[in-house]
């Protein structure tokens, strides 16, 4: 298979990764090689196999529906690049 440039830019946009033109070309080639390798997965017969959901065999981890400890506002905001009062500041989604 050959990965097209616009597939790479589409995936980069989905992942919100700003890539330079050189990066797009480099990842196109590298992902192509890696995908050619992982394509051998398609040859494995998995028709009678279920997907792994939890490797430790746990099914559900329940707890009482009660409020526990939580991070105080000042601690939660301590690493925020931009804050406004008690909130994280985010740019407008729509103008």
């Amino acid at each position: 298979m050959t990965l097209a440039r616009d597939q790479v830019t589409h995936v980069a946009m989905l992942a919100r990764l700003g890539l330079s033109d050189e990066e797009v070309e480099r990842y196109r080639q590298q992902l192509d090689t890696i995908l050619a390798h992982v394509d051998r997965l398609q040859q494995v017969d998995t028709s009678k196999v279920a997907e792994t959901a939890q490797i430790g065999g746990l099914v559900n981890a329940w707890r009482e529906d009660v409020r526990g400890e939580c991070l105080p506002v000042e601690k939660a905001l301590a690493n925020a690049p931009k804050r406004r009062r008690d909130h994280f500041e985010v740019g407008a989604i729509q103008e």
């Binding site: 992942a15 494995v44 490797i55 939660a76």
Partner: protein
């Protein structure tokens, strides 16, 4: 350089021959003396002082409460959160991040009186097999500084190998504890998935990640493991099963045990020096009374592909939180989308971007079934093959890595780097415990022996490793002394 183990240092503390503050200061001096290898990203100054004082008080006032780790200095990988101490995951995007809380594994070590001294270098977000993906520069192998220490927990392996600290913490998603342990000639233990809480570990691939120790002996690995293991309500994937007492089982030996040798792990591709060291180790285990049985794990060949779908898929989801809003780098742009694109484009290094791209692709519409779903099915097959093998053998033994430590810059194409982990990553896919212990040298570089056990049989893995270790001299080997620094010309 020091050969002293946790057990030996503990004995010195209890005799009053040393104080926790002195041991921490010695560790600091030793770490500074290997600064050329660049295994340390930062020191934990205030925390070190505080913990050393606490440990000293426990030893003086209630020595009966002092466990084996009380007063023992250690280093931890730059992906584990401790409140108030910078954790950057080896990445520019988290440079300067100060965790607002302490992770469970670290908290349990602090409660046991262990004394953190330094935060160790690693591949960015624990993605890599050589430590060359750290945004803060590569780490040198104490056995040969021109070679890599392995990865991703390269700094943690190097500081124990060089004798600067008796133990350190790493994390293992596809071999990131066992492979660097193998390359640096120390013990490196990846417990059963879910045996140690991941709360406070910066996530790479949540269904594979596990915290574990680097030590100079298997007995020490058992001590550190025991201090950290057990259910944690803050990690819903942590196992509620009670933790077996390890120490009592350690010395039971391998007499009468059946040990499986996976045929596929001894196939072509092993360096001759690795093969001969591992074959000698197998003969030694036989001499100790174990029965060796060849077993087959036919899906081994598919494990690499399975891993390189599942791990990048999980990483692409986990790293979505690096958005420049709540913490980390923020590159301000007019639109929110451009802010995301620039922040992440500038903040992540090449390997992390590559894996985010690969994972996003595998999860994207139209490819999910062919890649991600199929990989999760093959994962089931891989786990079932291990389970079947464990019906007829008690544990599996193999090389940890097909190769010894390679020169920096030697594996510049991504796929050849990924191939380094073919003997370790199936263990993560199946959620099993595995350890690497030194089993000889090949052309002057350490070779690692891997012992793998069934899920939750961590004690059995340690028992086999301990029996081998105690009957061979390899764990006492130290790297050759660094060449003398040339002085001023006479």
């Amino acid at each position: 350089m020091s050969r002293e183990t946790v057990a030996e240092l503990g004995a010195r503390l209890r005799r009053g021959d040393a104080t926790p503050t002195e041991l921490a200061a010695q560790a600091r001096t030793a770490l500074e003396s290997i600064a050329d290898l660049h295994p340390v990203l930062r020191y934990t100054d205030a925390l070190t002082e505080r913990q050393a004082g606490r440990a000293a008080r426990i030893l003086a006032e209630s020595p009966e409460e002092a466990g084996p780790l009380c007063g023992i200095p250690f280093a931890y990988k730059d992906v584990l959160c401790v409140e108030g101490v910078e954790t950057s995951a080896g990445s520019k995007i988290l440079e300067g991040f100060i965790p607002p809380y302490t992770g469970t594994a670290l908290q349990r070590l602090l409660d046991a009186g262990a004394v953190p001294v330094a935060v160790t270098n690693c591949d960015e977000f624990a993605m890599g097999s050589s430590n060359e993906n750290s945004a803060f520069g590569p780490v040198g192998n104490p056995w040969d500084p021109s070679r890599v220490p392995g990865g991703s927990s390269g700094g943690s392996a190097a500081v124990v190998s060089a004798g600067a600290v008796p133990f350190s913490l790493g994390t293992d998603t596809g071999g990131s504890i066992r492979q660097p342990a193998s390359f640096c000639g120390v013990a490196g233990f990846k417990p059963t998935y879910g045996r140690i809480s991941r709360y406070g570990l910066i996530a790479f691939a949540s269904s594979l990640d596990q915290i574990g120790p680097f030590t100079r002996s298997v007995e020490d690995a058992a001590h550190v493991f025991t201090a950290m293991a057990g259910h944690d309500p803050r990690d819903s994937t942590s196992s509620p099963a009670p933790v077996e007492p390890v120490a009592e089982q350690l010395a039971r030996g391998v007499q009468g045990m059946r040990l499986g040798i996976p045929r596929e792990y001894m196939a072509e591709g092993l360096e001759p020096g690795v093969r001969s060291a591992v074959e000698a180790a197998l003969a030694q285990l036989e001499k100790l009374g174990a029965t060796l049985v060849e077993v087959s794990l036919p899906s081994t060949e598919a494990a690499l592909s399975t891993y390189y779908i599942i791990a990048p898929a999980e990483c692409s989801a986990n790293l979505a939180r690096m958005d420049g809003v709540r913490f980390g780098l923020h590159v301000d742009r007019k639109s929110l989308t451009d802010t995301y694109l620039e922040t992440r484009g500038q903040g992540f290094g090449p390997e992390v971007k590559r894996r985010i791209m690969l994972g996003t692709y595998a999860l994207s519409s139209g490819y999910y079934d062919a890649y991600y779903r199929q990989a999760q099915k093959v994962r089931t097959l891989i786990a079932e093959e291990f389970d079947r093998a464990f019906e007829s053998v008690d544990a599996l033994v193999s090389p940890t890595s097909p190769i010894v430590a390679f020169p920096k810059g030697d594996k510049s194409d991504p796929l050849s780097m990924y191939l380094c982990d073919i003997l370790t990553l199936p263990v993560n896919l199946a959620g099993l415990p595995g350890i690497s212990i030194p089993c000889g040298l090949s052309e002057g570089l350490p070779v690692g022996l891997q012992v793998i056990g069934p899920r939750l049989q961590d004690a059995r893995v340690l028992r086999v490793a301990h029996a081998y270790e105690q009957s061979t001299p390899w764990h006492t080997q130290m790297p050759p002394p660094a060449p003398a620094v040339t002085g001023t010309p006479s």
